[in-house]
């Protein structure tokens, strides 16, 4: 197992366990760290798990799934940064007419 995979797995497991038993900042930190480094689908599921487990009432009764929405926004919002800093090549290439 590569170091990168190990880090991803550890953050994912910590995020899931944290969503169930640790203070809210633990899964939140895991979501942000996962989103900054990986195309982390598990970060979105951690957000979903928080909402399914802890929302006071269901969505149809007016509760807002804030954690899921936040996780989706963070994961997709960090995509350009991930591409620019961590993957091969820059996002913005030189324009042809320049």
């Amino acid at each position: 197992m590569t170091r990168s995979r190990f880090v991803r797995l550890t953050l994912g497991v910590l995020g899931i366990l944290g969503a169930l038993a640790a203070p809210p900042w633990v899964p939140l930190a895991c979501i942000v760290l996962l989103a900054l480094r990986f195309d982390a689908w598990e970060a979105i599921f951690i957000g979903l798990l928080i909402d399914l487990a802890w929302l006071p009432t269901h969505v149809s009764a007016g509760a807002f799934p804030l954690a899921t929405l936040m996780a989706i926004l963070v994961v997709w919002g960090c995509a350009p940064i991930r591409r620019e800093l961590l993957e091969r090549g820059p996002v913005i290439s030189k324009p042809g007419w320049y």
Binding site: G18, L20, W41, W54, T57, W97
Partner: protein, 257 residues
């Protein structure tokens, strides 16, 4: 003209799939009136205990400390282990449980309800909720009041499943409740962790340790006055309220039916 933004070479199918699945699950939960949540909550009720013990043992195992600290911890643990024999620990646990149940029985004398175990951590929820092990089959319904063993109001059931229920804590962040502290009436604003605060007139007769009662809950206490801050320049005083119970160690609650 060339496009300024290069398309990603990776298709990100997993991310698209996860996003679509999560949105679909939320929509399904919406349409079904909480079916997805009740399944998840049952799983959480089972898994939460394991997760708490795993995280606690990971934290106390010394994984994150230095070698010297580990050796020190190891020595301390050896001494502790020698002192605490298995039989003593078991007897103590049973004694503690017995005391809690006896206190809850006293609460039950004044109100009709059932004793339910707390199945989840108090600190884990960002929404100020927790799960108790009693549901519709035990007579619990939405709106049932949840009390501590001392009779303090902890919160209300917001969603009752078959065998477990979600409780919204009264002092969860942002929740306001009309209360009477001493002889002054005010709105108590929850801050989470069993703490809250309210503003009363500077001349109001409120003292440390006074019970803060909620008329909406039949005059039951919701906390005690933990601190009062009076500023000469301000016409009002800030009163800090807390539940006189350690929520982290709360194992049983009383659910009024």
């Amino acid at each position: 003209m060339t496009n300024l933004y290069r398309r990603s070479e990776k298709p990100r199918r997993g991310l698209w799939f996860a996003t679509a699945l999560c949105v679909a699950l939320i929509l399904f939960d919406w349409v079904s009136g909480g079916a997805a949540r009740s399944v998840a909550r049952r799983a959480v009720a089972h898994l939460s205990g394991y997760a708490v013990s795993f995280l606690d043992s990971a934290a106390s195992s010394g994984i994150f400390s230095s070698r010297r600290a580990l050796a020190r911890d190891n020595e301390a643990l050896r001494l502790e282990l020698a002192a605490l024999r298995e039989e003593t620990a078991r007897a103590r646990a049973l004694e503690g449980e017995n005391q809690i149940l006896r206190e809850l029985a006293r609460v039950a004398e004044s109100a009709q309800g059932i004793t339910a175990p707390v199945l989840s951590s108090f600190r884990a929820s960002p929404y100020g909720t927790f799960i108790v092990g009693a549901g519709e089959e035990d007579g619990v319904s939405e709106g049932s009041v949840v009390l501590t063993q001392g009779g303090f109001v902890l919160g209300r059931v917001t969603e009752a499943g078959q065998h477990n229920s979600t409780v919204k804590a009264l002092l969860s962040p942002g929740v306001e409740t009309d209360v009477v502290a001493g002889e002054a009436g005010a709105a108590l604003r929850g801050e989470g962790g069993g703490n809250g605060f309210l503003r009363v007139s500077r001349e109001a007769t409120v003292a440390l340790g006074d019970a803060v009662r909620a008329p909406f809950f039949g005059g039951r206490p919701v906390g005690i006055v933990a601190d009062i801050e009076r500023d000469e320049a301000s016409p009002s005083a800030e009163v800090f309220v807390r539940i006189p119970v350690n929520l982290e160690t709360l194992r049983f609650v009383f659910v009024e039916l």
